[in-house]
Structures are given as structure tokens and as C-alpha cells.
């Protein structure tokens, strides 16, 4: 076993890991980054479409171009990078990883978790029927098409209207496949409005809301699916079934933060985000362990991942120099709020970024942040959608030191 030590170990070399490593290095920390793939960049490398970087760079980059801007700086900097290296065990202050030179035992002053997320699969949504070839998650199909040059089918149905599903509808169409429909269980789409416009409407692909797949057909190869409309309780309505022939079913049915390692650390988790509970410094419940990016909560845009990773790096570097005990004020989700990050605040100087999502689409949404019945701040926006993260800044002067903070959303349901 090879033993080494590093001031700060970053796990994951995607946008969150690279953003955190660069920021921490700039703040003077000695950083080691571990990545299990052969290249840095994470899932961005298979996202060949544009739309990345508008907030951070003011231009529309492809996923690969966005990643490259960070890769160049990581490779030029003082950051130590180990690719093809898989973390197998983790404990506070210690990381064990495996690569071609054997087992690495690394003592870590602080750890930043940046492992990203994975896709929900057929098993997560219990589609009944046989198990023929031709059923993929949207991201797996994206990798087959964009990296390996393989077209997984010629006549497709896509279940789920999140952005990956919409992007794949366009990609399949451009590569010569026919996309029969995108079906969405909810009465609204979880994708960005512009992706519905430029990925579906541009190619006249129907978006079937309140619709799901109730049966798959075919034995060796997928032959078709049965779609059905669902009622208000999301249950399929008898009599609404219709058969749609296809040889490809793509599932774009949500992402789950990849927290297998977090379990080993015994981090307090938030069942609503699927990620660890953190304070505004992205500090988890275990001293010296920080988290950022999709491992913490699933983001809409990579730009937001990068911004969050910088806050995690600043938090970790600050913690390395003065290890103050955490005392915290819980932040609770009130009416029509699906989740909030951070879930607790450690009193300190500096404004706090609160990120959250609504549960249902709202118009004239009024967000109120309050403590002990006193309103700390409020903001009204013309519309709020579950697919679009809301950001509020709580100034340092308004931060309560005791009690709890409540965020809720009033307005009109759409």
C-alpha cells in the first residue's frame, strides 16, 4: 500500500471537482484530485450540445468546451491529479483509492465530495413487462451516440421530459432516428422551456403530458410500448392505453446524487435532495468533509455547479486554517418548497446563498424567508417552476443566531 498525505482531497474530476480544486488551489491549499475515468470533465464530455457557460463566460459553449476551460487550468496549475483512480474506502481524514500502481492510502486534512449523480433506471419506476434489448437511460444512449458512434435504435419513445430526454430527442432525430413521442408523467415538463422549443417543437415531436409507459413489448428486442394517460394521483386511467411501435425506449426519469461514499462517512443525509445536509460553507455533518455539485443536489445548469464548488472550496480552506466547531440554525422548507440547500446555517459574517425549488408550478410566486415569525426578506417573481432552482441572498446582517429559518412560497398555482 502506498501512503501519502494531502491538505485537501477532492473526489471527482467533473465540473464540481475541478471548480473546487482550482478555487482551493488559488486560495493556497495543496490539492489532490481523484477521478475514476481516464479523462477529466465528467459527464460534460458526452454533452456535445451548446448551452453551457452563459452565466460564467457569457457565451454558449458545448459541454466539452466548458470542461476544457477548467481542464487546461487544472493541468497547468499546482493541483495533483490522479485519473483512472477509484476511491474504495473513505473515513474522516482518510481516503483509500485504487489505480494501476496499487492501493493508495491518503491522509487528508479536508475532503470535498464531488462525485456527481447517476440516472434513475427502469427499476426505479417499475415498468412492467419483459426485458428486451432497446431500453436505455437517456445518458447511456447519449454516450453510445456521441462517444462511441453507435445508434441504439431507429424508432424511439422517450419517457420523461427532463433536459437530457429533450436533448436526446433532438440528437436522435438529427442522426436519422424517428422519435415518436416524449411522454411525461407530470402535467408539466421538467425541462427548460427553450429545450422544449428547440429540441421538440423544431422537429414536430409530440410532448404527451400526464402520460406514462405501462407496458413494454417484445422478447429479444423491444417491439413497442403501451402508453396510458394518468389521473391526478398519477395512476394510469383504464381505457386510455394506446400501443406505440418502437425499437428504442429512453428513460429520462430523474437523477440521484451518487452518495455511496457518503454512507461510509456516516453523513447526515437529506431525503429530499438525496444528498448530505450542509451549512452555507457546504460543510457536512462530519467535520472536515464538504460536498458540492450534483452529489449534493441535482442542479439545472453546470454554471451553478461551478459557483457552488467555489463556495465549498472557500469553506474547506477556511476550515483548514481555523477549525471552529459548528453551531447551527436549521433552515426548514415551508409551504410549496420541495427542498433547500443549505439545510442549516452556521452563524458567521458574510451573506448566505439559499438555493431551493418549488413543489408545483406557481405564478406570482412570493418567497418569504422568516425566523420566529419575523420576515427577514421576501421576493416576488412572475413564475416559478420545479425545474428551475431559485436563489436568494440572505445578508449577514439578517442572519439569526438561534431558532430556525423558514422559507415558504405563496402565490397562485398554475
Amino acid at each position: 500500500m502506498k501512503k501519502s498525505s494531502s491538505e485537501l482531497v477532492v473526489i471527482g474530476g467533473g465540473p464540481a471537482g475541478m471548480g473546487a480544486a482550482l478555487e482551493a488551489s488559488q486560495l493556497g491549499a495543496k490539492v489532490l484530485m481523484l477521478e475514476r475515468d481516464a479523462d477529466l470533465g465528467g459527464i460534460l464530455q458526452q454533452c456535445i450540445h451548446t448551452g453551457f457557460g452563459l452565466h460564467l463566460f457569457g457565451e454558449e459553449l458545448t459541454g466539452g468546451e466548458y470542461a476544457q476551460r477548467f481542464i487546461d487550468r487544472v493541468r497547468d496549475g499546482k493541483i495533483e491529479v490522479l485519473t483512472d483512480t477509484m476511491v474504495t474506502e473513505i473515513a474522516p481524514g482518510r481516503v483509500q483509492a485504487v489505480n494501476s500502481s496499487g492501493v493508495q492510502d491518503i491522509k487528508a486534512g479536508a475532503i470535498i465530495l464531488a462525485m456527481g449523480c447517476r440516472e434513475r433506471t427502469r427499476g426505479a419506476i417499475n415498468i412492467p413487462g419483459p426485458r428486451p434489448a432497446g431500453i436505455y437511460t437517456a445518458g447511456a444512449a447519449q454516450r453510445l451516440i456521441n462517444i462511441q458512434g453507435l445508434l441504439p435504435g431507429r424508432r424511439a419513445v422517450i419517457l420523461g421530459s427532463g433536459d437530457i430526454g429533450l436533448i436526446m430527442a433532438r440528437r436522435l432525430t438529427l442522426e436519422g432516428a424517428k422519435v415518436e413521442a416524449v411522454a411525461e408523467l407530470m402535467p408539466w415538463s421538467n425541462g427548460l422551456a427553450r429545450n422544449i422549443a428547440q429540441c421538440l417543437d423544431d422537429f414536430s415531436i409530440p410532448l404527451l403530458l400526464s402520460t406514462t409507459v405501462v407496458q413494454v413489448h417484445g422478447h429479444r428486442r423491444l417491439e413497442g410500448v403501451t402508453l396510458a394517460q394518468v389521473d391526478e394521483d398519477l395512476q394510469p386511467m383504464p381505457g386510455s392505453e394506446r400501443y406505440m411501435p418502437c425499437d428504442l425506449l429512453l428513460l429520462s426519469v430523474g437523477l440521484i446524487p451518487e452518495n455511496e461514499l457518503s454512507g461510509q462517512l456516516g453523513l447526515e443525509m437529506d431525503p429530499r435532495t438525496g444528498g448530505p445536509v450542509v451549512d452555507q460553507f457546504l460543510h457536512t455533518s462530519v467535520d472536515g468533509v464538504f460536498a458540492c455539485g450534483n452529489v449534493l443536489h441535482v442542479h439545472d445548469l453546470v454554471d451553478f455547479v461551478t459557483m457552488e464548488s467555489r463556495r465549498a472550496a472557500a469553506g474547506a480552506v477556511q476550515w483548514l486554517s481555523h477549525r471552529q466547531p459548528q453551531s447551527s440554525v436549521p433552515v426548514r422548507a415551508g409551504a410549496n418548497i420541495a427542498y433547500i440547500v443549505p439545510q442549516r446555517l452556521t452563524p458567521g459574517d458574510g451573506a448566505v446563498t439559499l438555493l431551493f425549488r418549488v413543489q408545483q408550478p406557481m405564478t406570482k410566486a412570493k418567497f418569504t424567508v422568516s425566523a420566529g415569525g419575523h420576515c427577514l426578506l421576501h421576493k416576488t417573481v412572475p413564475r416559478a417552476l420545479p425545474a428551475e432552482m431559485v436563489e436568494l441572498r440572505l445578508p449577514a446582517t439578517k442572519m439569526p443566531t438561534t431558532g430556525e429559518i423558514l422559507i415558504d412560497c405563496g402565490g397562485e398555482q398554475r
Binding site: I48, H49, T50, G51, L54, E60, T62, G64, E65, Q68, N146, I147, Q148, G149, L174, E175, G176, L192, A193, R194, I196, A197, Q198, D201, D202, D300, L301
Partner: protein, 111 residues
């Protein structure tokens, strides 16, 4: 005509009638809507075959948006193209994609 703006993730609902534009939140949205009304264009991203490296495909993008109606012709042209390593991001793999006058350029550096 009612349009969903694709300039940024905000996705404004824009209404265009003649040269009158409503609902946009920024000047880029206004310009986009006027162009969308008269001559809709899209940036095309795809891959072309790559010879000589570990990867078999090179991601590429059009240097400027191409007419929406010509997207499939552009794809047909791109599918016939081949690039070879080493190639630097930004290098053209085609100087006139499907008669649009627009360059198709590498979106990744492959050594």
C-alpha cells in the same frame, strides 16, 4: 407569433408582429426574435469520424447558426466528413457546410 426564446436558459415568451417585439428581457432576445420571425437559425452540434486517435468521434459545431430548414442537409454533409488527429478545438473540418457558407469546427482538442 408567439416564440419561446432559446438565447438563454430563462426561456422568455416573446410575441412578434412585424417589427414589434414584446416579452423579451434583454436586447439579445429581441434580435433573436426578429431573426426567428424572418429566418430562423440554429447552431448545429454533432460528431464527425476521427482517424488516428483513441476516440473514434470528434465533436464539432457550426461556427455560426445555420438556417433551421437546412439542419438535416447539414447533418448529411457532416456525416460524410472525416477529420484526423492531432486536431485543435476551433480548427475547421469543413469551410462551407451544405452550401450555407458556415464553417464546421472542432469542439475538442485531440492529440
Amino acid at each position: 407569433m408567439k416564440l419561446t426564446c432559446i438565447v438563454c436558459p430563462r426561456g422568455c415568451q416573446i410575441y412578434v408582429q412585424g417589427t414589434e417585439v414584446r416579452g423579451h428581457a434583454c436586447p439579445r432576445g429581441r434580435n433573436w426574435a426578429l431573426e426567428e420571425y424572418t429566418n430562423p437559425k440554429r447552431t448545429l452540434t454533432t460528431t464527425v469520424a476521427l482517424e488516428g486517435g483513441d476516440s473514434t468521434l470528434l465533436p464539432v459545431r457550426t461556427q455560426a447558426p445555420v438556417p433551421k430548414a437546412k439542419l438535416l442537409e447539414c447533418m448529411a454533409h457532416a456525416n460524410r466528413l472525416r477529420a484526423s488527429t492531432p486536431i485543435t478545438a476551433g480548427t475547421p473540418v469543413c469551410t462551407d457546410l451544405a452550401g450555407t457558407g458556415v464553417r464546421l469546427v472542432a469542439a475538442r482538442t485531440v492529440r
